[in-house]
Amino acid sequence: MNTTKHTISILVNNQPGVLQRVASLFGRRGFNIESITVGKSEEEGLSRMIIVTTGDDHKLEQISKQLYKVIDVIKVIDISANPMVERELALIKVNAEPSIRPEIIGVVETFRATIVDIGPKSIMVQVVGDSEKVKAMVELLKPYGVIQLTRTGVAAMIRGV
């Protein structure tokens, strides 16, 4: 069976420890977590977690079934099985002496990323997009010298209705 990337959306009760329950389940059962995000959902008292993982069909079925055993888990959807929108935000602080800035700004603009801070020797770039886009932006900035990089992990949603 072929191993592929999956984006799983998990609706959970907003109880203390719920993140630990879900994350430790992945660890304990040998499931991999590529990225994990969690935040409030549209409903009071419920949070939504987005976990990006890899595995074959068998593994994915087990992940979903095991997640449903967690009492605070309400709904599990493999959203990558549908047309979806997937977004990640990254902040990249990059070396930028004044002389090189126009060049960097050029790169940033073609990516429709934005400059959110300018220091004496550095620039902070904010990029939003799917993980591929974020990765590409980072690659392009690397030659200038990346001082610090923060990525949020993926937020995602199924398109349409």
């Binding site: 959970v12 009760n13 203390p16 420890g17 630990q20 329950r21 430790s24 389940l25 304990r28 068998h58 079925e61 087990q62 079934k65 095991q66 449903y68 055993k69 967690v70 009492i71 605070d72 888990v73 309400i74």
Partner: protein, 578 residues
Amino acid sequence: MSTQTLKATNKELYTKLMQPDVITGSEILLRSLLLEGVDCVFGYPGGAVLYIYDAIHGNPDFNHLLTRHEQGAIHAADGYARSTGEVGVCIATSGPGATNLVTGIATAYMDSVPLVVITGNVMSTAIGTDAFQEADITGITMPITKHSYLVRDVKDISKTVHEAFHIASTGRKGPVLIDIPKDISAHKTAFTYDNKISIRGYNPTVLPNKLQVERLLKAIDEAKKPVILAGGGVVYAGAQEELLEFVNKTNIPTITTLLGIGGFPSSNDLWLGMPGMHGTYTANKAIQNCDLLIGIGARFDDRVTMKVEGFAPNAKIAHIDVDPAEVGKVVETAIPCVGDVKKVLELANQKAKSAQSEAWIEELQKMKKEFPLKYKDDNKHLKPQYVIEMIHETTKGEAIVTTDVGQHQMWSAQYYRFNHPRSWITSGGLGTMGFGFPAAIGAQMGNPDRLVVSINGDGGMQMCSQELAICAIHNIPVKIVVINNQVLGMVRQWQEIIYDNRYSHIDLSGSPDFVKLAEAYGVKGLRATNKEEAQKAWQEALDTPGPVLIDFVVEKHENVYPMVKQGSTIDEMLMGDS
């Protein structure tokens, strides 16, 4: 949303309990437990549960048993639950009290035993400060509980208890932990108890999918060599009658796993024994040669499947289980039937017809005759298998038997024949030494009128022997059997067979004189070293109304056969030289 009826049947008590008095969290806890029908709690006090123990003091309705170790308390609650089908309850204090429960919680979790475990914790204001006797017990036990609660408000106690009982005892059963900080158990509020349960993320599938059951029946119709693998799920669902009816209708030979023992009568001709590492020849061969394997409430543990790649190579696999995550977890499943085992079998029984299995049954019956369980008996030594057979014969197979873990456990599974569910209590999934004896105390508390026999090795007996005190003080008439081979027998067996006789740290010389140990606690102690003494001592034990420990000094070198080595398929059995 479901409504769980409260179990407190005594109307007068019920009215008294339901008064909307303003009371402490501890009193709320007690009332809530009583409303759930709890009639026996095992526990051990300490600083963080002092308010709770203060509330227990003088409460005429609340039956609490003080064990000598928290591990004893939780295994006793476990034995109570396994033998009665009710939820077992235990209480321990924070920190070391709570961590002493961990082995027992894991034991119950692995075997799907419904427990409500109550621990105290430090003041809620001190949580997270490394306060005296603080342990993050909800964090520690997260992977070994079905669910857990840290109660942060006294108003939540009654609702939490009700939810905990519901979660522990429905769907795939399991232990639920309730951690209560000391101040919360002291705070006061008006008592209310709501019958309604509404847990949004929790809705166990009870009724099966009809189409899947039809597929199962069709597969039976097409099969020539079908076999049933019945596990603990049959016992837990109370589905033994439905299983018997199913077997009677379909004529399918049936194997019971270690935890499934008693879920199908061993006196039935179609019973083939236990499968796996120490399974019977016929059960293992049947699995390897069948064309349809119907797992019922069995989770295909690796002690059953051994090498998974070679397991049931010719079989289409059907799996009936209440836990969807078990279906397809270990073996590829062609026909999944998720639902309560009893309900699935009820549905199947409506249309079940006999399989075309005559030739197959004949083949297996021949095998059963040719390769029975056997051991070399002689009149010089007392053989452990003989002791178990003797216990079986004298109790006519009607006792509740608990075991510890090791060779004696396997011999008990092999040579004691069970015809009733909930009569066989053993730690299967975790294989916990120290489990058997306290579990027997719990089983006896839950079944005061039945004979309870606790079979132990000389190693495991020393892991919770302090609970002899409880037997003596409360005159709990458990018959405590020690199969004394002076070694860690099962480990010795592996070192002999797999590690080329390199016996590393298995010698138990220096063990106490078990007869004197029993007597030191005020329990009658007897010893037997040959058959004649064995019969005499055992009869005396049966004739004695209270607890008795019998030290059966047996042949040291006996091993358990058949045996399948790890890495082999289950039909590659070592048969021993008997």
